[in-house]
């Protein structure tokens, strides 16, 4: 187990009497004390993402008195975020997440300075943004940004407090410290696009980012103060269903191109690295599409065709398009024999991603007259029938 490292926050900043009162429960902890609180005030923490993980992270780090919190996010608050993104409120729906989070954080602790970067983190801006911070906390929601964050942190020598979640499970670790492993030591390459569904497709327990984000916040504060045993060289696995926490040993890979051999001296094209847009087979634009309005017209004309919905039964129970037949993607291969290749087939799902896969499977099986419903049932609700609930 890694032992405490030197505090990352090397400066001390004076506290006002208001702040001394506010942080009294920290000040009476010998491991934090006045000096530790002064370190926190002088420290700068960058949060990548102000969503599920970013919400508890930002709230607790702000409450704890981290002097400067940087937030990178370009998204807008959506009502489906509110089940877990607790830094935002109902009144914030439609607002940029940065504005919404800034208001909430300022209300929570006016002594904290919030710096916003309303942009996607890219290979062009990552080094510039990260350079001025003591540590980075990765709360993003996609592989490309995770590898980008990792490589930028390794290049700049900034610790990267990692957390990721899916459904009921989470992972956390501390990467890119001087002698510790990095994200590429754990996962040298990302899965191909589409293999691992996003939270929007697969769902996530609303409390889970709270569990994982608060672990990341704890690790961040420990690193800043130089106390305890950080999660360096350990991968924490969190399973909310069985409520089990397991710690696996994580070793630094001497052949790691980022932290081992240092082959990666500059940032690369992470979309390409993650296979986004590179493989025509994975490109949804190469698939025949039909819009919801065209599908509605087809139904009105009473055209002869089959509408296949490849979502899961629990999604089907929430909303469906009239006339559709449920064939979940997991059983699609076995059901191919039940489809009639002589008829037109339109395939749908929630957003159009899974149905695109099903269309590819049909094409590979020799079906010629197949179309993907663009935007899935969500766009059907927007464009054709608002009485179909969105989820």
């Amino acid at each position: 187990m890694a032992t405490a490292t030197a505090p990352l926050a090397t400066q001390l900043e004076e506290l006002s009497s208001d702040e001394i009162l506010r942080y009294s429960r920290h000040l009476i902890l010998p491991e934090v004390a006045l000096e530790g609180q002064q370190r926190l005030k002088a420290s700068r923490v960058l949060l990548i993402g102000a969503g599920g993980l970013g919400s508890p992270l930002a709230l607790y780090l702000t409450a704890a008195g981290v002097g400067t919190i940087g937030l990178v996010d370009f998204d807008v608050v959506d009502v489906t975020n509110l089940q877990r993104q607790i830094v935002h409120g109902s009144k914030d729906v439609g607002r940029p997440k940065l504005e919404s989070a800034r208001d909430r954080l300022k209300d929570m602790n006016p002594h904290v300075h919030v710096e916003g970067y309303e942009t996607r983190l890219t290979s062009e801006n990552a080094l510039e943004i990260i350079r001025d911070y003591d540590i980075v906390i990765d709360g993003t929601d996609n592989f490309a940004t995770r590898y980008l964050t990792n490589d930028a942190c390794v290049i700049l020598g900034k610790p990267n407090v990692y957390g990721s979640i899916y459904r009921f499970e989470g992972q956390s670790s501390v990467f890119a410290t001087e002698d510790g492993p990095c994200y590429r030591c754990l996962y040298p390459e990302p899965p191909p696009p589409g293999l691992v569904p996003s939270c929007a497709e697969g769902g996530v327990l609303g409390v889970l980012p709270g569990l994982v984000g608060t672990i990341q916040a704890t690790e961040g504060i420990k690193l800043l103060l130089g106390i305890g045993e950080p999660l360096i060289g350990r991968l924490l696995l969190i399973d909310a269903l069985s409520m089990q926490f397991r710690t696996m040993r994580l070793r630094k890979n001497p052949n790691c191109p980022a932290c081992g051999t240092h082959e990666i001296r500059e940032l690369i094209d992470y979309d390409q690295f993650c296979g986004i847009g590179g493989d025509p087979l994975q490109d949804p634009h190469g698939i025949p599409e039909i819009t919801p309005a065209e599908l509605a017209a087809k139904q009105q004309r009473r055209d002869d065709f089959d509408l296949i919905d490849v979502r899961e039964p629990h999604e089907w129970a929430i909303a469906k398009i009239p006339g559709a037949r449920l064939v979940p993607l997991g059983t699609f291969t076995e059901s191919l024999a039940t489809f009639d290749s002589a008829r037109d087939i339109v395939v749908t799902c929630k957003m159009g991603g899974r149905s695109a896969k099903a269309v590819r499977q049909l094409q590979a099986a020799g079906f010629k007259k197949v179309w993907n419903l663009a935007g899935g049932i969500l766009r059907w609700s927007d464009d054709v029938d608002p009485s179909v609930p969105k989820y």
Binding site: D138, G139, T140, I165, Y166, E169, Y187, P190, P191, R246
Partner: protein, 90 residues
Amino acid sequence: MAVTLFLPTVLAKLADGRAIESTGETVGAVVANVAARYPNLAPRLRDETGQPYPFVTFYLNDEDIRFNGGFEAPVSDGDELTVVPAIAGG
């Protein structure tokens, strides 16, 4: 050797549950045994040639098998093999 393979919830539905009993002399043999019994799970555990993916980490007890010979790593009776696929949600 009798080994228990532990799956994350997301893969458990492709098998009978989260803990699967298997046998073999190496990690690769244990995984191949499970893959043969659960064809839908097989492509999530290893590639078409039977090799591990760079985005699915296997822990033999608490150690990453990559540092102990990968799928060639020998196993002992009662070992636990845990599958930890990459996830990216946040």
